[in-house]
Symmetry: C2
Subunit: 287 residues, 2 copies
Amino acid sequence: MDFTEIESAQVVAKSFEAADDPRLRELLQGLVQHLHAYVRELRPSTAEWERAIAFLTATGQACTDTRQEFILLSDVLGVSMLVETINGADAHPGTTASTVLGPFHMTGSPRRELGDSIDDAGAGPLCVVEGRVVDTDGRPVPGATLDVWQADQHGFYDVQQPDLQPAGNGRGLFTADAEGRFRFRTATPSHYPIPTDGPVGELLLATGRHPYRPAHIHFLVDAPGHERLTTHVFVADSAYIDADAVFAVKQSLVREFVTVDDPEVAAAHGVAAPFTLARFDIVLARS
Amino acid sequence: MDFTEIESAQVVAKSFEAADDPRLRELLQGLVQHLHAYVRELRPSTAEWERAIAFLTATGQACTDTRQEFILLSDVLGVSMLVETINGADAHPGTTASTVLGPFHMTGSPRRELGDSIDDAGAGPLCVVEGRVVDTDGRPVPGATLDVWQADQHGFYDVQQPDLQPAGNGRGLFTADAEGRFRFRTATPSHYPIPTDGPVGELLLATGRHPYRPAHIHFLVDAPGHERLTTHVFVADSAYIDADAVFAVKQSLVREFVTVDDPEVAAAHGVAAPFTLARFDIVLARS
């Protein structure tokens, strides 16, 4: 029998019936149902389908060891944030909210000591970030690992500017102390545009969307016996705090980055005034 | 307000509200609705989402000038065939049915004279294909252009075997005569597997799906004042004629490829017996 519009999804879904892995089968059969429903509803022309194929191909080909354009696409379509929402804080009440990983996480952040600066260029406005990792009962999580990364004060990650920034600039792998405390110095982050020189940038331009993200610092927190947490801390008065291009802001992750002029407070933090101080405590779920 | 599972699709769709092009806005807002519905229903874990990102990235990176892995993915998910069905014969009653373009169409098939062979290697079992291009009133379409391409008798396209096959082998660009007639010689096509050495092949393997397509010859037919037709002629007794890996078989496109032993019939076709003869008439829609 011929392939028809009415039965297409059923016929193709059936072709996956013999898959050994039930979860893979479920994910693919569901994908077929939703993809075919999209085509039936929106009725793309052959030229529009060819344009979509060319766009997806270009997105894959824009990916390198230091750039993940498909994650960026998932981000601007809100899919990353939806997956995070389903798997993150909603699943673990009372913990710090999760948000997107983003396309610029690198495995192998440089290991640093508590209190060290991640601003290897040393040119940014001085900021101290400190906090404590605890569980949902408020008990400290000693030895928690915090992988942190951020764009510099001009809005670029190290991997975007290999000729201008030292590798590992704006990144650090820290281990919380016996009380679960952590602290590091950095350059106060800036809002910045996501990369606009690839297919995702073309998509935003073609649809009149701005590419900006509010200022933030990424955290990936791991501790034995606890669920991994992927999140950001956002700068409260940043531009675009209400219009993140990747929909990642959660109110509970926004913190005041306070300017401190008092030399005694500065000395207590091991820096000179003036500087910016932010506190971000982290609550992990036990696994 | 925080991004929530309930409102995610609405929030992201709204971000495309300012797009100047109303069709682009419609296609993207619809995509967001269906993608988010898929995520809400199937609830992929973060690891599953990462696997999907890696798969799509690898699919884009497997594409080259002579290989289009994203079309192949669209093909095995039945999306190509659904788009063709919506835009092809269903939209133009009384015409030859359309089917998928496939990943191996090359612009620039070698121009050949009517009656020429497209089997430049000259090693395949001899086949003559002939037919007539007419409109829906049965009037000939003189000067119609027929771009034809096929795998060789071992199941490989020229671009898959650049060291074994001359470029343009199995391809030809023909112009129908004043009566709309065309004819060419070729190697009788074989059933064959779609390429299994890339991400799409891994997907088929992981889900227990076979990669085979029944034997066929591709046609892309153009004529001034007529709608372009993308189709195949299928060999009636081919293996996999009822189980095409890309769902492209339509009963109206299946033809007997008849073995002819009669020397006089062979002489009338300008070849020696025995040979295989197939007739495929093509009906175009006027535009």
